[in-house]
Every structure is written in structure tokens, then in C-alpha cells.
Amino acid sequence: MTGPSIAGPAMRLRGLVRKESLQILRDPSSISIAFVLPAILLLLFGYGVSLDARNVPIALVIENPGSETGSFAASLVGSRYFAPAVVRDRRAAEQALLAGEVDAIVVLKGDFARRLWSPAGAPIQVLVNGTDANTARIISGYLEGAWQKWLAQYAMDQGRALAPPVTIEQRVWFNAEVRSRNFLVPGLIAIIMTLIGTLLTALVVAREWERGTMEALMVTPVRIGEILLGKLIPYFLLGMGGMALSTAMAIWVFGVPFRGSAAVLFLVSALFMLAALGLGLFISTLARSQFVAGQVAIIVAFLPAFILSGFIFDIASMPRAVQLLTHLIPARYFVSSLQTLFLAGTVWPIVLANAAALAVMAAVFLALTWRKTRKSLE
């Protein structure tokens, strides 16, 4: 059972790691946070949440039907972004908007055909339900695009020059299909690893304080470094396991392209895991009850990772002060690395800068934990 060569620190560490691993394996909540929760979150965000506009119900008011309006209506019907319903008068369309049956109203005025060829151009009126600002912006953008496209096409068909001579040709890089899933899923990996690294470790150390086992441990010849390593190693492995699962699901279940280097992904993930674990351990040295540790971990790690990491909300469009704040969030660097590695490939300037930031944060959190933890009950 025990080789004679192993002694002192190594033996103590082995004991602690084995203990922790057994506890993880027997505790259904650890396993579910590490493996079941990631799977659920991935399925939820992969299939359920979409930031794309597709088959958006709109009401199309045509006050004076004619060939021009018919052509535009046909272009909207043909688009996969919209599901238009043609109504005769404006009032009915407004009713539908209020009832939430449509998300936008497009009004083609009675003089549409006449003014189409005038220098000022024919105005179309677009009313968008602005309750969800994000969706509203997307819909109005798409409508604008649809209008421009139809206009260009129609002018060409009619062989007439149009007021705006410039044609827009869109080309989307990195995410050619413009699928939100492609950037949501890699970002989600950061959220999942924050959960495992910070929340789980914060809870398990606090649990040792609550159950009085820490007190018993401290009266053995064990050193603080060994106690910390004994926590780091098993949870590091658990986190990397969760990472591997999420990556595999991203690639093979959701078909997210992976264009970077797997080795780099592994290294950056390892750095992020250390930073997350460092933060978790630091929280648990300060809060010795599971309840407090859990609350703090959610507030300082999970929520920022969700909101301020660029996972869902674009950092560049945040207020300046908030943008500065995001630099303190480890997940920010990881989300950026993940999105780059998955969608663009190994872009060294980005990956290296992020990796450096993560390494600094991991070092700071672990050093703070080391300094703060004493073999003492005070």
C-alpha cells in the first residue's frame, strides 16, 4: 500500500489529494457542478438562447398596393429573417404590436410608388418594439439591410439609376454564418470553469471549517502549502475535465469551428483554472461558512464572468468606467482567448496578452491566499 521511498511532504500531499478526490467522487453536488451543469448550460445556450433574428414576425402595412410595394413585400416574405403579415391599415398593425404578435411594423405609405424615383427617395416607416433594446437594434438593422438590398435589386431590374449610387456588399469574417451560438458556446466554457474553479473550491474549504475538520487537520504536522495544494490538484483536474467535456460538446454537438491550436487552448485554460481556483481559495480563507463563501463567490466571480466578460455583452459598447472594471475579471481574458481560438485561430498577440494577464491574476490570488492562510484559528 505504501512504498518506502515516499515520505514526509509527498506522503502528506498524497493523503490530502486522495481524501479530496474521494470526497469529490462521493459528493453528488461536486460531480453535478463539474459535469451535469456544464452539459445543461451548453444545451440551454446552444439551442435555447439565440441572439440572431430569424423569422421575426412583422406587420407590413401597404396603404396603396402596387407593383413596387408588391415587389418589396415579396422580398421580405422571401427573407429567412422575417415572417411578414400584410395588413391594410395602420391601426390593425399597432394592435398587433401592442398584443406582442409582431415585433415590428413596416409602413409603405400611399405615395410610395410615386416618391420611389424622386431624388429624396421613398421613405418607409419602421416601428420596432424597443422593449428589448438588443433585439430591436438587430431587427432595425436587418430591415435596413433588406430595404437597401431590395432597392439595389429593383433599380437594376428596372435599369434605372438610383439616388444612392453606393452599394453595400457585406462580408462577415470568422463567423460567416453569423450564428450567435458560435461565440456563445466558447464563452460559456469560461462560465463553467468559473463555477468549478471558484464556487466549488470556495465551498469545500469553508465546509472544512464548518465541520471542524480543518481544526483537526491543523494539529497534524501538515503545512499550509500542502493543505492548499491538496485542494488545488484535485479541483484543477476536475475543472480541466469539465473543460474537455465542454470543448468536445462545442465542437461535436454544436458544430462550432475550432481553428486554433489545441495545445494553446489547454495552456490558456490551465492558467485560467489556476486564477479561478486562486480566487476560490482566497474567498474561502476569508469566509469560513459555506453560505457566505457561496454568496461571495457568486457575486465576485460568477456574475462578473457572466456580465462583464464579453460573453454576452460586448465590452467595447460598455461605459468607460465599466470597461476599466472588466480588466479585473479573469473571465474577460479567457472569453476573449476562447472566442479567438475557436473562431479565428491562434492569433498570437491576443492569446499571449490574455495568457499573461491570466498568469498574473493566478499568481496574485494564490500568493494572497498563501499569505492569508495561517495554521491558526484566528
Binding site: R18, T213, S376
Partner: protein, 607 residues
């Protein structure tokens, strides 16, 4: 035993250099805005190869002292030398040679018995053949052998305690520190623990044993008596009690008038302490009492004729005498002497005396959990104004029975009637007549005394004027008026207990259920508590109490012993003791009787 230290005992005979020496140790803690002097200039010594009992009321500084000796805390001033080392400076060296079992045993409940031991062997650097040999010894020593693969969380309290001990003994320590190891552990396991520790001392290990049980203190070689961070007295327990020679008596009156007698005896000016002890009252007189004092006064009591006999003083008498003769230094302690039954008794009508009326009636009660029968056909009755105790080891079915009687768990079969109401049919109605006080005092810690009382009054459906009157009466009865705005969490333990009781009886219940009411509470607080319970019983309330605590069982009118799901014995404490008297042990204690009964039952009913 393998390893280093046992040689120490041979080099250091009992009288030689102490293993621990404390000099003028101070330790303060910040508790909110104020500082608490946990240890206030403590100087003491702990001798080698003996059991030193660390005794004192709750909050006396026992755990702080243990943590200082192990180096888990550093003193603010003063010196602590442990095994010749400075505990604050050479902490690691100290920790390498002491074993420490904290209050909750420090076990990983989701690891098995063997895995817990493996962990501690790894931490203590015990390997190879030495480890295997040591494990075999420890398994044999503690009787845990058959349970190697069982998760620690699934062990009974007694087995957990033994495993906790085994973990600290993986590498034999020179000094073993046990912090209240027998709290929540049944008497049989408690005895086994004593046996194990005595053997360890025989092997040369020194033991410091913190305890709130005074009968345990009596079995130690030496006792350190702490109070409010100071050393009140030290020495062999016999020396403590010897000082009270000629001041302790047993008073026996008419069975039915026992509580009236207690009240009257307590009211005598020279009586320091009087408690119910089975059939008798145990009385401690002050130093000033002249010979024959008790006899002459007993003749004039209303309770009728009482016989007085001198008895040997116990450590508990000495403890109570020392504590009560202390000037009250802080407002924290409950009033000395406790309330008189008369004054405290809530005005309740007593039923026509003489006719015993079964208020609680339990008939063939059975509770199964799957294939396991936790309670296997229990019958008993509790009369009006009677205090009935349920005793039994952990896992015997005590709590399950209790929960069924409170209407918290439906029985699988049989009947439980409280005040004639069938708990199976109308548990909610029955609960309206039941007062229930849980072990941990179910109070709202962050609410004030008044807010707690208001909440419980409302919870019991009291409103308006009735509620106000009841709350005022409770503040008055329980002496909580001065504390009405204090946050209940910050109350001293004794007051917390008063408040919990006050909340439990807000609705004037006819039946009171107490679940391990005084575990972890010091003897003075316990006395005060039982005085109140006595008063309530006197006023006609029936009390059902579960306990581990033999002294507490002595306060009961009758006790029932539950073991392996059955009521194996019931009767007055005196009857149970008499039934287990042997030529070797003509006057067994209740604990002796209990241990004997369990042993006999096991041999007659092999599993």
C-alpha cells in the same frame, strides 16, 4: 505501541516535570464591539501520565485553553510550555507530539473508517509495516474492526468518537487533548471511552480532558476548575469534595410530596443547593450551618415527615459550592439559586389530585423505515403532572418515538394519544396542546428577546390583548425583562434556554416535550432549568424528556429505557437501580443500571 513517546512516561514519573505549564496566560477575543477575556491570567500545570480534567461552565475558557496548548491560537501574553517546548514559537514541534480531538471529532463523514485512518496516517508520516501493525492495534482497541468500510457519517455517536480518537492516536502522541469528547454519546460508549483512555495513560500518555459532566471530572486524577477565564481551583477531585465533609445530606420524604419538599428545603437559609436525586433530595449546606441544622428544620416542614441521612460529598457538590460562593462578576450568569417553584409557576389549575390521568398514552407504537423497524411496539403512559424521561443509546429509536409523539412523523402502526387526541388523525389539533423545545433552542438568533416572544405568540395564534399579557407574563416569569431588547444570539446560554422555554410554553400547553434540553449546559444552568420544569409539573403539566444524561434522568418521576426499538425497562429511577443491584455493586448508580440492562438485553436477545 510503536514510535517514540511512551519512553517518556518511564523517565518522568507522575510527580515529575509537568507536560504543560501555563504562566499568566491572557487571551482576548473581539466579540462585536466589546472584548471578551477568554483567559484572564491563567497559570496551571498538567501532570505527566495522568488524566487531567478541565472542568468549568460553558464559556469558562476550556476550548480556548486547548487551542492555545495545541498552538492553534497564540496567547496575548504569558507563556505556554508544552512538553518542554514553547507552544507559540515551536508550534510544529508541539503539534508533532500532541494528539487533539476537537469537539466534533474532526472526521470526514463522507470517507470510510479506513479512509479516515489512512488520511491521518499519511499526514503523520506512518508507513509500511508500521502502519499496518498500528491499524490492527487501533481497530482491536476501539472495536471498529468490523466497520472498516462504513462511512464515518453513518457511524453512531459513540463509534464516531472512537474513530476520532483512533485518528489522533495513529502516531501515539505524548499528550492527548480531548475537547468534551462525550457530549452526545450514550453511557455505554462513554464507559468504553474511559476504558480506552485509561489504558493509554497506562502506556504513558498524558491526557487533558475537557468536560461539562461532573461525574466524569470525578474520575480524573487531577482537575482544573475554570470559571470566566480564571483558575478557580486545582487538585485531585477527592480533595475538592473532602472540603465539604459533613455538609451533604440525603433527605427523603413522602414520594408524592417530593417537589413541595424540594421547595421548602431550598427556602432554608443555610441550604446552598438542593436537587432531586432519584427518590431523595440531595442537599448541600453552607459552611456556617451548625450540626443538626437540617434535622431540626425538617421537623417543621409542611411537606410532612422527612428523614435526613448524611452522604459522602461528590465533586458536583464541590463544584456547585465553589461556583455559588464566587462573587457574581458579570451579569452573564443566571441568578444563583434559581427561581422558587412557587414564584415561577405559571398560574395553571391543578387537576383533582390523587386520580392519575394518562395525558400521554402510547399503545403498540411501531415505525418502519423500509425494511428497518426503528420503533418496534412501544407502550407507555404519562400521567398529568408527571415528568417522564426517555433514555437510550444513539439510534435506539428514542428520537423516532419522540417525533411521532410530537406529530412530526406518522406511526406505521399503533396509537399515540396526547390529551386524548389521536396524533394520527389530528396531529395539528394535538400540537396546539404541546409545547416543544428542541435541543438547539429553535430561536431566531438575530431577533431580540421580545421579537422572539412576539413571533412565537403569534405562531400559536395569540392576538391582541391576550398576546400582550402572555408576553409580559413570560418576561416576568423568566426574568427576561432586563434583556427584552437584547439580540437573542448574544444572550448567555442560561438565558437563551429560558427564552426557548418561554417561547415553547407561550400557549399554555398541557404537555411539554423536551429534546435533550440541557446537553452542553453547565450544572448551574441545568439546575435552574429543572427548577422551572419541576414548577411546571407541579402545576399539572406533563413533561416528556429525552436525555443521554444520567443526572438528568434522576430528575424524572419515571423513566423508560429504549433500546433496539423496544421499551426494555420502565419505572422510577429507584426501581431501576434496585433491579440492577448485585452483591458486588449493592448501590448501583443509574448509569450502572443502564449499562447492566443493555448488556443483559444483548445477551438475552442476540442480534
Amino acid at each position: 505501541m510503536t514510535g517514540r513517546p511512551e519512553a517518556a512516561a518511564l523517565e518522568a514519573p507522575a510527580a515529575a516535570a509537568p507536560v504543560v505549564a501555563l504562566r499568566d496566560v491572557h487571551k482576548r477575543f473581539a466579540a462585536g464591539s466589546r472584548t471578551v477575556e477568554a483567559l484572564d491570567g491563567l497559570s496551571a500545570e498538567i501532570g505527566a501520565a495522568r488524566i487531567t480534567g478541565l472542568v468549568g461552565p460553558d464559556g469558562a475558557g476550556k476550548t480556548t485553553l486547548m487551542r492555545l496548548v495545541t498552538g492553534l491560537l497564540a496567547p496575548d501574553s504569558g507563556s505556554i510550555r508544552v512538553l518542554g517546548l514553547d507552544a507559540a514559537a515551536e508550534t510544529r514541534a508541539v503539534q508533532a507530539s500532541v494528539g487533539y480531538m476537537p469537539q466534533r471529532f474532526g472526521l470526514y463523514e463522507d470517507l470510510s473508517v479506513a479512509e479516515n485512518l489512512e488520511l491521518y496516517a499519511d499526514l503523520q508520516g506512518l508507513a509500511g509495516a508500521e502502519r499496518r501493525e498500528r491499524f490492527e492495534r487501533l481497530m482491536a482497541f476501539t472495536g471498529l474492526g468490523p466497520f472498516r468500510t462504513r462511512l464515518a457519517g453513518r457511524l453512531s455517536g459513540g463509534m464516531k468518537q472512537k474513530l476520532g480518537l483512533a485518528c489522533t492516536l495513529v502516531r501515539p502522541p505524548r499528550l492527548l487533548l480531548l475537547d468534551e469528547p462525550s457530549v452526545g454519546v450514550d453511557p455505554v460508549s462513554r464507559r468504553e471511552l474511559w476504558e480506552i483512555v485509561r489504558r493509554l495513560v497506562g502506556e504513558g500518555i498524558s491526557v487533558l480532558w475537557a468536560t461539562a459532566y461532573l461525574d466524569e471530572a470525578e474520575r480524573c486524577h487531577e482537575v482544573l476548575l475554570l470559571n470566566e477565564g480564571r483558575l478557580l481551583a486545582a487538585g485531585p477531585p477527592s480533595r475538592f469534595s473532602a472540603r465539604l465533609e459533613g455538609r451533604t445530606f440525603a433527605v427523603r420524604g413522602e414520594e408524592a410530596e417530593r417537589r413541595t419538599l424540594l421547595d421548602e428545603v431550598r427556602a432554608l437559609p443555610q441550604v446552598v443547593d438542593a436537587v432531586v436525586k432519584g427518590r431523595d433530595l440531595r442537599v448541600l449546606l453552607s459552611k456556617q450551618a451548625e450540626p443538626g441544622y437540617l434535622e431540626s428544620h425538617c421537623r417543621t416542614l409542611q411537606a410532612g415527615r422527612a428523614r435526613v441521612t448524611g452522604v459522602d460529598p461528590l465533586f458536583e457538590d464541590a463544584f456547585v459550592a465553589l461556583m455559588k460562593e464566587q462573587p457574581a462578576t458579570s451579569a452573564g450568569r443566571p441568578a444563583r439559586g434559581g427561581p422558587s417553584s412557587r414564584g415561577a409557576a405559571p398560574a395553571r389549575t391543578k387537576t383533582a389530585a390523587g386520580r392519575p390521568e394518562a395525558v400521554i398514552r402510547v399503545e403498540g407504537l411501531i415505525r418502519r423505515f423500509g425494511s428497518f423497524t426503528a420503533v418496534d411496539g412501544i407502550d407507555f403512559q404519562v400521567a398529568r403532572g408527571e415528568i417522564f424521561g426517555l433514555l437510550g443509546p444513539n439510534g435506539a429509536g428514542k428520537s423516532t418515538t419522540f417525533k411521532m409523539l410530537c406529530g412530526l412523523l406518522p406511526p406505521s402502526d399503533g396509537r399515540a394519544l396526547v390529551l386524548g387526541i389521536d396524533l394520527r388523525r389530528a396531529a395539528a389539533v394535538a400540537r396546539g396542546h404541546i409545547g416543544y423545545m428542541a435541543q438547539k433552542f429553535s430561536l431566531y438568533g438575530n431577533m431580540s428577546v421580545l421579537q422572539n416572544l412576539r413571533f412565537f405568540a403569534s405562531a400559536y395564534g395569540l392576538t391582541g390583548k391576550a398576546r400582550q399579557e402572555r408576553i409580559e407574563a413570560a418576561l416576568e416569569e423568566f426574568g427576561l425583562f432586563a434583556y427584552r431588547d437584547a439580540v437573542s444570539e448574544t444572550l448567555p446560554l442560561g438565558f437563551k434556554q429560558r427564552l426557548a422555554l418561554a417561547c415553547a410554553i407561550m400557549h399554555d400547553p398541557g404537555v411539554l416535550f423536551l429534546d435533550e434540553p440541557t446537553s452542553g449546559v453547565d450544572p448551574l444552568v441545568r439546575r435552574e432549568f429543572w427548577t422551572r420544569i419541576d414548577a411546571m409539573a407541579e402545576a399539572g403539566v406533563s413533561v416528556l424528556v429525552t436525555t443521554h444524561f444520567m443526572e438528568e434522568a434522576e430528575y424524572c418521576d419515571r423513566i423508560g429505557i429504549i433500546y433496539r426499538g423496544k421499551l426494555v425497562a420502565a419505572g422510577t429511577p429507584e426501581e431501576l437501580k434496585a433491579a440492577h443491584a448485585t452483591p458486588q455493586l449493592p448501590e448501583p448508580t443509574l448509569e450502572d443500571a443502564f449499562v447492566d440492562l443493555i448488556g443483559r438485553y444483548d445477551s438475552e436477545h442476540p442480534r
